[in-house]
Symmetry: C2
Subunit: 117 residues, 2 copies
DNA sequence: ACAATATACAACCATATGGTTGTACGTGCT
DNA sequence: AGCACGTACAACCATATGGTTGTATATTGT
């Protein structure tokens, strides 16, 4: 599963910022799980105004984590797994950075015992 | 590599918020890569005041992404890969949520053709 | 045509954020 | 002892964020 990040610093800022809110993570979870959700349907699930939820969806859209498409008078919110994968890839990259610290040591340990010359 | 998230909503908020800044992601990358870095050494690398970098490190520490330990008059910043893994795990979970949408369909498709009854 | 619904968007407000400068304190070096 | 260095922390400022209410516009159903 090779996913190139390919995002500018600003886009990454937006992406992680979007994930740094409980309501927004919940929305992402719902739409990723396939809940066919209009903005008002989503709004019904949280104890805040419609406008507030509308703003959260806008932040997620700005981050590329969801897209909206019109269906009659409502807007259906759909998850974008690719963008999620990009965020995931960046964290994985950082983890690799860490484990790379030991890769050289690992290599030495994994090396078969050398015969005497 | 099973990593349980095990974090409250608030902690996740702090964690992703900490990652939502270019300077902070850069600091994380450096310390995860093993750069033995005091706060002032880090500060030297960015075009902002020492106090600003100090605040960024504090945000990372609050999020659990780094720890500081005293060494003489300086504080050495060290990366905490476990917390990184937790953030990573959550995103992976959300990705799984997406792919789970097709698992049932996959199962049907993978099913061997049924004999006539 | 009309009422109800879904959305968009602006204005407003309190608080958080990301930066600055200034001051105080502990540690190291000569 | 005295100075330089590294850190801590407070005060301050401009802007961003997360919420509200209110108003306008498009669509649906009767």
């Amino acid at each position: 599963m090779v996913v190139r990040a390919d995002l500018t610093d600003y886009e990454l800022d937006r992406l992680f910022h979007a994930l740094a809110d409980t309501t927004r993570r919940d929305i992402v979870a719902r739409v990723m799980a396939g809940e066919e959700a209009s903005v008002s349907m989503l709004a019904g699930r949280y104890s805040m105004s419609f406008a507030a939820v509308q703003k959260h969806v806008a932040v997620l859209e700005e981050a590329g984590l969801v897209t909206k498409y019109p269906h009659g008078r409502e807007r259906i919110v759909r998850g974008n797994p690719q963008q999620l994968a990009r965020a995931s890839a960046l964290l994985h990259q950082l983890e690799q950075l860490w484990s790379a610290r030991f890769s050289q040591l690992d290599a030495v340990l994994a090396e078969p015992p050398r015969r005497k010359e």
